[in-house]
Subunit: 224 residues, 2 copies
């Protein structure tokens, strides 16, 4: 990936990430980052004993690094820290595309596929920054509102980084594309939007009396 | 997987699908099928040239078979029809779990992991039934409302089946589990529900005048 001033960064197109339908493909950094930043869960794929494993993980992005984390004992993290190649997919579903024929049914979505190599984060500062980013990815500003992390907690947590080596976004939007001769038919066609929304925050049953909903959480409920 | 009358079916627990945190693990067929039937997108993982690939796909379930489909030219399907081992993950996100410490933040979710072997569906009837199931998985009853599938469309479509060999569901629900000494603190804690909802159907711009929204789509909008 190269960057020159005033030029938009794009990821290289390779055999591994090339998208067949060109009009749905986006390799520019802005599109890739926007999807990563809006998603909450990445499906992380790796190979174990020759077989594929795909697990859902929360994550965060700092620059061109993705971070995932978990308990030290987690099988996934024990594997990944060996430095395995990984593929991460983040998909945001935007709607059903309802054609006049079953053949032209589809989904509207924004999806990004990342290929990179998992690496154990050993630098203490990078590990700290990654944990802040993962928490703030769930709710921006949340880290500063929480009880400070203890050394014991930091030690119990494994953080893995993945440098984005190649990335490809695939986006479909808009109406179905039906066969020309079907447009005059009596079959209904259109789209059904699908939205993901935050509901009203619910206090923990053991919340100390009089504690208001945290600012980061209030902001979240108003965000979507 | 064995079945005797009046006994609930469960999937075998193996090294590949065992979930570390036992209280979140479910291997019974009812839980696994319920998550598969509610999800819209499966992240399908397979190995290509030793590297993991994860792609989002619509799918459907008939009994213990999962079906995915796509254009014949699709790279994924060209690979899978060779009979590769696959891992499918379907994850439904239910909420943010907001602890008093960053360490005890989490997500509420229902997730299922399937391991099996991809197989090209060659039997015409099975292929037809799978395409009906995939369409009706998006909107129950939709297949019967659409213009009949042509032979050309059937020929242009590849259908892959995956027999569910092992399956494990992981479910987290409810409030954060904080450290006992943190409960008395002034930090807010609780959950933020996340809901996925259908919006009002939008007519295709070229819809023939006077055509009402299809019944399957109306039912969908009222379903969630």
């Amino acid at each position: 990936m190269t960057q020159t001033s005033c030029q938009e960064k794009t990821f290289p197109v390779t055999e591994a990430n090339k998208i067949r339908v060109a009009k749905r493909a986006h390799y520019d950094e802005a599109t890739v980052h926007a999807i990563l930043d809006e998603g909450l869960i990445a499906q992380v794929g790796f190979v174990q004993d020759g077989n594929p494993i795909v697990l859902p993980m929360v994550y965060a992005r700092i620059g061109d690094q993705l971070y995932i984390h978990g308990a030290k004992a987690t099988r996934l993290l024990k594997q990944l820290k060996k430095g395995l190649p990984v593929c991460l997919n983040v998909t945001l579903v935007d709607g059903l595309v309802v054609g006049r024929s079953a053949f032209h049914h589809s989904m509207n979505f924004r999806s990004v596929n990342i290929h990179g190599t998992a690496k154990l984060v050993e630098d203490e500062q990078e590990k700290y920054d990654a944990l802040v980013a993962v928490t703030d990815h769930l709710a921006p500003g949340r880290w500063d509102e929480t009880r400070a992390m203890t050394t014991k907690e930091a030690n119990a947590t494994t953080v893995i980084s993945v440098t984005i080596e190649t990335a490809a976004a695939k986006v479909r939007s808009g109406m179905p594309i039906d066969d020309e001769e079907d447009y005059a038919s009596d079959h209904w066609a259109g789209i059904v939007p699908i939205t993901t929304a935050y509901g009203q925050p619910i206090d923990d049953a053991r919340l100390k009396q009089g504690i208001p909903v945290a600012d980061s959480i209030k902001a979240l409920s108003n965000r979507r």
